[in-house]
Amino acid sequence: MKTNGHKPSPAAHLPKCPTGIQGLDEITDGGLPRGRPTLVCGGAGCGKTLLAAEFLVRGAVQFDEPGVFMAFEETEKELTANVASLGFDLAGLVRRKKISLDYVHIEPGEMQESGEYDLEGLFVRLNHAIDSIGAKRVVLDTLEALFAGLRNEAILRSELRRLFRWLKDKGVTAVITAERGREQLTRHGLEEYVSDCVILLDHRVNDQIATRHLRVVKYRGALHGTNEFPFLIGDEGISVLPITSLGLNHKISSERISTGIPRLDAMLGGRGFFRGSSILLTGTPGTGKTIVAANFAQAAALRGERTLFFSFEESPNQIIRNTLSIGLRLEPLVKRGLLRFHAARPSLYGLEMHLATMFKEIATFQPRVVIIDPITSLMDAGTASECRAMVTRLVDYLKAGQVTTLFTSLTQAGHALQQSEASMSSLMDSWLLLQDTEGNGERNRVLYVLKARGMAHSNQIREFLISDRGIDLVDAYIGASGVLTGSARAAQGALEKAAVLATQQEAARRKRELERKREAIERQISGLRSDHESETMELRRIDEQVGTSTLMLTTERTASGILRQADAKVTTNTRRDPRQGRKIS
């Protein structure tokens, strides 16, 4: 009833009676037709009685509508014990006059028919029970027992017709259960009388996995989901799982939370995942999925956020021990109640049961971070389409509660790395891929971000190192020779270092050589300069010598000329001579 707020005016529609059964009210868009009988049919062990009992109990507890349970097959005691296992306190409700139980015992062996009769006894009992507690709901489980006890079918049929008419007149919402027939919905054709709403339950085995299904075959005058929906009987009653019931209108947070690995945060735009997003972590065996998951769990718990770790492969203690070896201390967090493990073998029960258990755990623990390690194990517990439906529902459920979820997924050998199980990758907001690279006789782990909706993320491959100090991401060597990791990366690193060193040494050597050369040239230059200087000195000295000697000669000549009274011509010639001589030399 709460969920159909979007519906138009309720007056235009059939009044409905909410069952309170998880999911059923969504499928039927509000519940069963109020004041009319509904037929619930199915084979043995489908949960007919339980559905009817839950309808009654929830009516009494949640909607304050008392109910009458008329049982033809189980005694009051048996019924009380049977539904007590699902957490319904039938005896208490009977004491508080919320529910009236009436066991109709029909023993064909002690009954003889003689002449005409009617079922007024049944009517009187029912009427008395309804009036004594003011019942609004009635369950008749299973009316067909009458067919075994009473032989006059003509009377029986007309009386049943009268019964359903009477129930309608009485204004009670009735649930009538019936055994499934071979060619019709019920063995004795009860659908002939109850035509307002028919729900078919079915329990079938696919690939050795039994799943219960519910289908609303008929709902007169109302919209309803016509598909088969898986349902399960958990320890809190029935829950039907309509895939579409949650829808895509959950709140969105732009808060970011750390992955617990600083380098990985850096790869995710520097701040990690969005809160409330779903993260897929895929990888081949032994790539460290659980370790990344445990790291994320520790980081979340250390921030004080409650973290729930579903483990389908390892026991909690094994995870704690194994992660201790890489420096993660999960045990104190478990003791402080910040981290809780829930471990179960996938083959323990069917998929829908797993889902219900997970929902229950999540509802009671109220975590902010959920880790499912690995989701692929669960895939073995159901068919592909069921799994997709389950993951969808789980993702929707967790997103609606703004719970950040990390799914690890094992990529089977021989499958493409980018292929995820049941194509669930499209449901995920972020996808990290862990991968082994093989080469040089060793395997190395690399990690990269395949997708991260709504954030700038690194396109780089990082080498993923696990040491006793934890996880570290190292730049892988990416060059002409491809991606190098591990010792090859180390070797390449050394090689590069050596090359750089050699270049540096070479440069230094050449520099020294040039320096030496320059010094030699300088020396040569200074030698030449000193040579030149001495030559200049020499020249000057010679010049001076020549000058003095010429002067002396001229003076001598003049003196002698004076003495001999020679002409001036001679004197000029002798003055010019020394210059010419210099030019020649």
Binding site: D102, V104, H105, I106, E110, M111, Q112, E113, S114, G115, E116, Y117, D118, L119, E120, G121, L122, V124, R125, N127, H128, A129, L146, G149, L150
Partner: protein, 117 residues
């Protein structure tokens, strides 16, 4: 509630004990109102008691409209229902008792040669 029930049960036991001492047959007829069918059944049983059993029976006619609780306690589904409480085992006959032979068989009268059909 419980104590009431127990008390009633005790009373019933005591009653049947006294009845047993007095007579051979303990019969109870449950009818729903005064319909033709009910009347027919009552008539038939009374006739049987007087004619065949010579008054040696303890017959009680109960209208479940008046006492709906008794309908539940006695597991009445169809009406009219005749319950033969004694001699054991407990037997039920439903219907207007139009065919009385079934009733007589139930009362072991034919077997003992007391009457012939």
């Amino acid at each position: 509630m419980k104590t009431n029930k127990a008390r009633r049960a005790n009373k019933a036991v005591a009653k049947s004990r006294t009845a047993r001492r007095k007579s051979k047959y303990v019969l109870r007829l449950f009818v729903a109102g005064a319909t033709a069918r009910s009347r027919q059944a009552v008539l038939r049983v009374r006739q049987l008691c007087e004619v065949e059993l010579k008054g040696g029976c303890n017959l009680k006619v109960i209208d479940i409209y008046q006492q709906p609780k008794l309908a539940r306690e006695n597991q009445i589904v169809a009406t009219p229902t005749l319950i033969i409480e004694f001699p054991p085992p407990l037997r039920r006959l439903i219907g207007s008792l139009a065919n009385i032979s079934g009733l007589l068989v139930e009362l072991d009268l034919i077997k003992k040669g007391k009457i012939t059909l």
